[in-house]
Amino acid sequence: MTLQHHFPALIIVIFLICAFIMPLLFRWRSTLCAPALLLVHLLALAMAVALLVRLYAGGPFYYHLGNWAPPWGIELKIDFLRVYMVLILVGLGLWIFVYALKDLAHELKREVTGWYYALYALLIGSMSGMALTNDMFNLFVFMEICGIASCAIISIKESRECLEASFKYLILSAMGTGCYLMAIAMIYMVTGQLNFQLIREALPAAAGLYPNNLLVATALIIVAFGTKAALFPLHVWLPDAHASAPSPSSAVLSGLVIKIYAFSLFNILFFVFPASFRQAVPINEIVLWLATLGILFGSIFAMVQEDLKKMLAYSSIAQIGYVFMGIGLNQPTALLGGFYHILNHALMKGMLFMVAGVIIQATGRRRVKDLNGIGHVLPLVMIAFTVGGFSMIGIPGTGGLISKWYLAEGALLANRLFFVIVIVLSSLLNAVYYLPIIINAFLNPYEGREPVKPVSRLMVGAITAGMIAVIFFGVYPKPVIVFLKAALAAVIGM
């Protein structure tokens, strides 16, 4: 047994260990904390790449924690899609963390920085766990860790709005996990299994005997992950939570956390429920229609927001709708679009929240109508905002177009023309609220007496890197697309 064999578990474990020692390390040598967490990110990234190499060599494989084989032990599954998610989580987690290094000094008290790092590590670690696990109950545990960490990462900035938003989030998130646990209980009742693969094998027989039990479980699962990932009518917690959090938290919550729940839902729908079951119950249809409503209403709500970060948060509700649409269409090309959008939206929304953070830090403004002329004082940052906005709209040369292309193609292949129209319409809606901000920022004069505070180069650098990445994935998406195509072909046989 070489060390390499344990990489799947180590990716998760090093983050959790890091989270544990971070507050202690902060007491002892506070300057060491940030480099340590950076190092952990890099290590995890290296391990994820090593997993990828191993995947290319030998295909998907399993890892048994503590060498206990499935019915008893917890199993991690490593396939292309999961590693894709881990790469996004760790890679973009690293990117946002670099931004956070400087931003936190302005938003948090210095004493709690160590705790913030701990929560950040906990969050990334638990999300990686959610991406890799192949066990229903283990997924629940990681969900709870992720839930608490993401609430705490908001409430750590002890302002009244944050506490309130965080509590609201906590309650709804507890409801979500409660529903999920109930669903596990119901599935366990009829199958006696917790492992994805074993449940899948036991389900057809169980579905014949106890159909109602499974129906309720399915509904509970959709409610659970829908709440967590802000699927349309269950999104109420998101705007407050994402808008009031410190900017790096907003970036990681909007960019990564809601995606991982969508990914888990995908995993359960496609790997736990057999295809026949999915055809019998219109799960995909429900997800699809809710996603459509989310896409349209998220954008419409975003239009009337006065607060920049709230607008971005509502926009996230619309954008996560695309991911769910990919899942709901139940069509390989659309799924490809959805998965590409996970990467894309994580990049652009992360970047946009960073931009909002820089604007707030430099000028203290966060209302949309106060942003007139901001492009004159923060040109580079606003250019990044422009690129992000364009990507949301789907202008050629940005990643947004590519995901929309595949989603629309998938919808056409599935003979669902209506959803192509939804995609086109939502792009227009996005234009209606992103463009005025961009225009006003560059073409109106800047009015303000107080001087613009200097912004750390590292933060601007992180934003620039994001901007370049958004353009890169719009101009040269081929490697990722080819990778995803192969991955989807391998896992769902398209």
């Binding site: 839930g147 608490i148 609430c151 009244r160 507890a174 409801m175 409660g178 209980a185 917790l194």
Partner: protein
């Protein structure tokens, strides 16, 4: 009649679902934050109850390695899982309560409606 018999036979199922719905309803509709936290616990507990109940076999033995003749062991896995679940539940509760304390410090109340009122008055 068949349905009633089923229900009577699976009474623990019924109780768990009723508790679950009570918890969920209170959590979403009550404005008192403390009650929300309590409701959250009720909801969790209902699932624990269900989980433990399905693992139990009437007349079964505790799953400890010893000679039990023709008897059954009860399934140890749900119990183990629920232990984990309880730990998770406790930590969530603790965190939620700490948030309530902080909110109380800011607003002087733990009622969500009053908080909304206070905030709207300030704006």
């Amino acid at each position: 009649m068949e349905t009633l018999k089923n229900l009577a036979h699976n009474y623990y199922y019924l109780v768990a679902v009723v508790l679950f719905v009570i918890g969920m309803h209170t959590m979403l509709t009550h404005s008192n934050l403390i009650k929300k936290v309590i409701a959250m616990n009720i909801m969790d507990t209902s699932v624990f109850l269900l989980f433990v109940a399905i693992g139990y076999i009437r007349g079964g033995q505790a799953p400890i390695m010893r000679d039990i003749g023709d008897g059954f062991y009860i399934n140890p896995l749900p119990g183990a899982l629920i232990l984990t679940g309880i730990v998770v539940g406790v930590s969530v509760t603790a965190y939620a309560l700490s948030l309530v304390v902080k909110i109380y410090r800011y607003y002087g109340t733990v009622d969500a409606d009053e908080i909304v009122e206070i905030r709207s008055r300030e704006q």
